[in-house]
Amino acid sequence: MSTISSSLFDVNHLDALSNQTTCIHRLDPRVKLLATVVFIVSIMSLDRYQISALMPFAIYPIFLIALGNLPFKYLLRKVLLAAPFAFLIGIWNPFLDSNVSFHIGPVGISGGWLSFASIMIRFALTVFTVLALIATTGFNAVCMALERLGVPRGFVVQLLFLYRYIFVLTEEAGRMARARSLRSFDGKGMGIRVFGSMIGNLLLRTLDRAQRIHIAMLSRGFDGEIRLAYPLKVNRRDILFLSGWTALFILLRLFNLPYLLGDMFSGLAK
């Protein structure tokens, strides 16, 4: 039950964050989406033992979070909540690949631990960035960007509709789940039978609601086509943002900056 209200709170909270007006929020949603895709592809294409080369990529999510005025701790909590699957898949690496690949003093580090650490760092970077994208852009703007980038309108309309009704239906589901748990003693009635008819009832109400919505839409002149109005316009700042970040990602992908830097340091020490 607490999970229902807290996930609703999450969606609400991200939605509220996306209503700010920082310089990041004002950017065209398309350039943010494209830059994020280039970012993710650059990270994913790195060698799987790579750790140091991943580090400089952190600048992009940090940039978005800092300038977009986003709460770091809140995003961190969301990233940690999503971590178990990547963790469960990655944690096998240290056991399966026990080749010692290099030493720090007397301690040998195996390739498995390296690739495991690499997976978790990639995970953190990509998830932070996607959350920062939605929190600086908002869902409606992302949908418009998708439509402009060639995603079929039918699917975009579906996304917008779904988003609109998540709030309504999740609140209703939350009330039903609360009512069920208040009437349940000793875990009775929490099984599949009650769940089935409960969800069935929710479904029937949902279908009725869909019908009312359809009638309302018809009476407002709906003809099966939804027209989206977009005030999207790319200006110089947007182009600068996209080209600048894309160039940086490609540069960071091709050259291991931290390694060159570390080499310089150790060269100086000698």
Binding site: S7, D47, I59, T126, I134, G154, L169, G187, I199, G224
Partner: protein, 351 residues
């Protein structure tokens, strides 16, 4: 079982995304051609319904733990293949963006695993065949369970295949398969029971809703052919890729049984294990993702990288980037990045 960006290679993510994009395009076009405008609000609201239903937990029989539904099969029964697929895809997109379940590039994988198999394979080929045009309680039950098991088995297989082709995780194909399939057999049975419960409820309360999708035969017969052709192409591509690997891992099953017997923990299988991986690795180097070997950072600085002797080149790819210089440099860059972030935030707050 949402795949994350961190676990897949760009080649796998990109291929799956392209396949999904084709299916979404096709689905959206078909819907526009065939369906009446009632379906638009219906799909949106049912997507929200699945979303809400996924959040209500129930007690799983015989275990006492609690779980939630996936919902792909319920949608398919209510809406038919095409619309259900679009709805599931939209639900997965929102989960990626707001709950970090999955990832932008992994979205294609997730849509294939969780939406394609249930809506385009299990529903038309299994559920429809069993439940038929004139369903009754038992047919719905058997059809739901069989179709749910099948779709989750295919989905789990998809996860294993995608993980393995990506080569980010070390888990061997067969062991992962032996781990995933039985778990998803259990999940499939539960999902089937829940699907049957919901569908039976709707069937008793409002039988006309099920007739709506059951009767629209023309839509299915035309779209199914194209979908099957698409799937054949998909299978051919995957099969072609697989044949790269087939010779690399002839004794996979034998090996995993040996491993599962588990008497000698890590010592004995080590050489075999590594020989095996080295072979897979060699083959996998054909895939983009870790074939970018032209990097200037790969070689150089032999002092600090003590690559163990006797390993072949593929394993030697643990490279200079992970050497001490790399670590120092990495830590410095990260600190620098945080410092820039702190500075930008300060600047932001002042203005």
């Amino acid at each position: 079982m949402h795949m994350a960006d961190a676990l897949i290679s760009p080649a796998v993510g990109g291929a799956m995304l392209a396949a999904t994009a084709g299916m979404v395009l096709h689905g959206a076009k078909k819907l526009k051609e065939d369906m009446d405008d009632r379906v638009v609000p219906l799909m949106g609201v049912l997507g929200a319904f699945i979303f809400a239903a996924q959040m209500i937990n129930f007690t799983i029989p015989a275990t006492g733990s609690s779980g939630h539904i996936g919902g792909g099969m319920i949608l398919a029964v209510l809406l038919g293949s095409n619309a259900a697929f679009l709805v599931m895809a939209s639900v997965l997109t929102i989960q990626t963006l707001f709950f970090a379940d999955g990832g932008l590039l992994a979205l294609g994988c997730n849509i294939i695993n969780l939406a394609f198999f249930s809506c385009f394979m299990a529903y038309p080929l299994i559920y429809k065949k069993i439940a038929g045009k004139d369903p009754n309680r038992n047919r719905i039950l058997i059809g739901s369970i069989a179709a749910s098991i099948a779709s989750l088995q295919m989905g789990a297989f998809g996860v294993v295949l995608e993980t393995w082709l990506s080569g980010v995780s070390e888990i061997p194909f067969t062991s992962f398969l032996l781990l995933m399939q039985p778990i998803h057999l259990a999940i499939g049975i539960v999902e089937g029971l829940v699907t049957a419960a919901v569908v039976t409820f709707v069937w008793k309360a409002r039988p006309e809703i099920l007739e709506l999708t059951g009767s629209s035969a023309s839509i299915r017969s035309t779209s199914m052919k194209k979908v099957l052709v698409g799937f054949a192409v998909f299978a051919a591509v995957i099969g072609g890729t697989l044949s790269w690997f087939a010779s690399a891992n002839p004794d996979g099953l034998e090996w995993s049984i040996y491993r599962a017997a588990g008497k000698e923990e890590l010592k004995a299988p080590e050489t075999r294990l590594h020989a095996l991986f080295a072979k897979i690795q060699e083959k996998a180097a054909f895939l983009p993702g870790y074939s970018f070997k032209g990097n200037d950072s790969v070689k150089s600085d032999g002092k600090e990288v003590r690559v163990e002797s006797g390993k072949d080149e593929a394993w030697g790819s643990v490279n200079a980037g992970t050497s001490l210089s790399g670590l120092i440099g990495g830590a410095t860059t990260l600190l620098l990045a945080f410092f820039i972030g702190w500075f930008l935030r300060k600047l932001q707050n002042r203005s």
